[in-house]
């Protein structure tokens, strides 16, 4: 098992004097807490015998039907019978990896990729091979080249793990044209796709993107979550899988946790049945859009020459590239000392890459705090550039792979 950076990030987020652009915690205070509290109180008082009891390993059936309605917003047609409710999408990742991966098997993942997935893949001793992305998401030609190379090497590719929409950490979105190409290539090379889509409904422009799963039911395992559209503390996610995989997932879930919490599940079921959840997601979108605007405006205004960053159309994250010779991991302790936190890019690579990158989250802090955070960050980067120009290159942090930043960074 390999440590991840997430644990350390929770600690960063908690320090009030630090502007944290690190953790990906949703702004749950935007929920109507009085109404949600009253709803849950009534639910427990009225249906306690069900809410407080064991449930099935697959998850509550009515909730699974609601989940299908949610996925339909992204073009996904699915049966509740093929959905398994999980403890956040993280448990879905864990169960899928447990089912498919033997030590040494190859998982393809974007470069960069979600740190929590890389941690799980490492725990099962998968060999993660990265495929580059750009502003249009995963690059199809690079995917094909990678598959060709691995085929020549006789390596077994178990699946492609991708966050196609408002990617974590890069904030980019796979274009519709590329979606078709990725599906085509994966069919040609007979590779499963694990589509992780926690941010799909949090786009700032127009209608939700069409999920990969919407156009390919047999080859795509779809992971969803209510962590960002309702509340992360409920730990309710799900996986939609082809029938044979679904059956294995239920057995694996039962072995791992017996059953997911009815308390959490039925809170979500009741919320979806009685509360204006579509309007609430719209409110979240507006809130996060204002924060996205704040971070992009601040970066445009304040960051020194030589930095570049992505311009997300949804979700929580901006991916920033530092000028050559700077190292985001080596710089992190100095940033924390100057009261701004980010996640060094190295956490999002399984192969030691990412030193020139960082993930900036705009989901949690208020816009004025985001601006203050970027101001502090810009000053730190300027100082680093001066050091580089004086001493000919900042010290590079030697560690590679998935790792914890350590107490000095926190």
């Amino acid at each position: 098992m390999v440590p991840s950076e997430i644990r350390a990030l929770f600690a960063m987020v908690a320090r009030p004097e630090v502007v944290s652009l690190a953790g990906g915690a949703p702004f749950v205070s935007a929920l109507p807490l009085d109404a949600v509290g009253a709803m849950i109180g009534d639910l427990v008082a009225g249906k306690g015998a069900e809410v407080l009891q064991y449930g099935s390993a697959q998850g509550d059936e009515t909730l699974r039907e609601h989940i299908c309605e949610v996925m339909a917003l992204e073009g996904v047609q699915a049966s509740a019978d093929d959905v398994v409710v999980t403890v956040g999408a993280q448990q879905a990742l864990d169960l899928i990896t447990k089912i498919f991966i033997d030590p040494g098997d190859v998982i393809l993942a974007e470069a960069p990729s979600y740190v929590g997935a890389l941690g799980t893949f490492a725990a099962y001793q998968a060999d993660v091979v990265h495929v580059p992305l750009d502003e249009g998401g995963l690059i199809p030609s690079a995917l094909r080249e990678t598959l060709d190379r691995l085929r020549r090497e006789g390596r077994r590719v178990k699946f492609l793990y991708t966050v196609p929409t408002f990617q974590n950490p890069a904030g980019v979105t796979l274009t519709p044209a590329r979606r078709a190409q990725i599906l085509e290539i994966c069919a040609e090379y007979d590779v499963l796709i694990v589509e992780d889509n926690p941010y799909g409904l949090l786009g700032f422009d127009g209608e939700p993107m069409r999920a990969l799963r919407a156009d390919e039911a047999e080859r795509v395992i779809y992971l969803g979550s209510f962590s960002k559209t309702i509340a992360s503390g409920l730990r309710v996610g799900w996986v939609l899988a082809p029938h044979a995989v679904r059956a294995k997932l239920v057995l694996a879930a039962e072995s791992a946790i017996l059953c997911p919490s009815n308390f959490s599940q039925l809170a979500v079921r009741e919320y979806l049945a009685t509360q204006p959840w579509r309007e609430q997601i719209k409110d979240f979108r507006e809130l996060y859009r204002a924060r996205r605007d704040a971070i992009l405006a601040s970066l445009d205004q304040l960051m020194p020459d030589g930095c570049s960053w992505t311009r997300p159309a949804g979700g929580f994250f901006v991916w920033l590239t530092l000028p050559e010779g700077l190292d985001s991991k080596a710089m992190a302790p100095r940033a924390i000392a100057d009261r701004v936190a980010y996640v060094p890019g190295t956490g999002f690579y399984a192969d030691g890459g990412g030193h020139r990158h960082m993930r900036l989250s705009y989901c949690f802090p208020e816009p004025h705090r985001i601006r203050e955070g970027v101001r502090r960050l810009a000053a730190v980067v300027e100082q680093e550039i001066k050091l580089r120009d004086t001493f000919g290159g900042a010290a590079r942090c030697g560690s590679t792979g998935v790792h914890t930043p350590g107490p000095d960074v926190v």
Copy 2:
């Protein structure tokens, strides 16, 4: 991965015309649901920003302190820092097995043993070796003989898994004298102990039994749960482990689920801080004692000669042995047809044993339903005895190991 019988049991419990003596669901309706609902509603309305947010992988610190107070009732002295909150004790079992077991490693377990543990052990390809128990719990001399034999065979024993108090499924309790002997033997043979103790506070006579962990901190990993003392639907359990193991458990938990639900955890924290939980456990004890009395009185009165059963001093279960030549698994469909359900003993053995046994749960049905269930069961057994006497032995169900009863049984 291997199916288990639990999933099928949930379905049995749901059919109103069947008296289910099968599932181990606690009688959560005995909770003051109005008060608990109001408490949770206020909690979400007042502290929603924390309740609905991600938490730490190890679990809420204040809750872990409360957990130490709960364990102190069984003589356990522990630091909150050595506790990891899990999704029920089942997740603790899964994480421990993941950490310690390589395929083929030996786990010792009582004969019979908890079906959910056997399922998890099978998922990691452990080799479960059973050690017999009697009315006084696990038999120390049998443990020593088994360890001697395995040592001679050069087998590696990773741990002893035991439910020492009000055992599932046998309903028996390890005597104080045997506790000392078991600890001594495990020290002599350098074997870890996994003490699974969900029922410890649900004893019907006198003070709680002293946990194994109370007298041995380094060799015992202790699993606890609020599923039976508060509510199973919350899915809040825990593991108390020596420090080095605890660190690995936190990493494994993070990889598996990121963090346990704050929603569930803080509901438990608030319940323990503000509600009369000791009095509620006393109420549960009285309730389950009345049901235990009902099932024992009915069995004494109604069951035909040749049957025997344990007399639990706490917990949820009676373990019944059928007359020679009868098979609880083969008989199960006939019992269901006559509207009474139990769990065939075979689910509690990893080695194909248990055909003459069954688990009877008295935790969920009201006493008059328990009596009706035993009446139906006694009639089925009498019929089986007649069949045996006429045809010279009931058909034996051929399957072995951990398995699902199949749709005919459900």
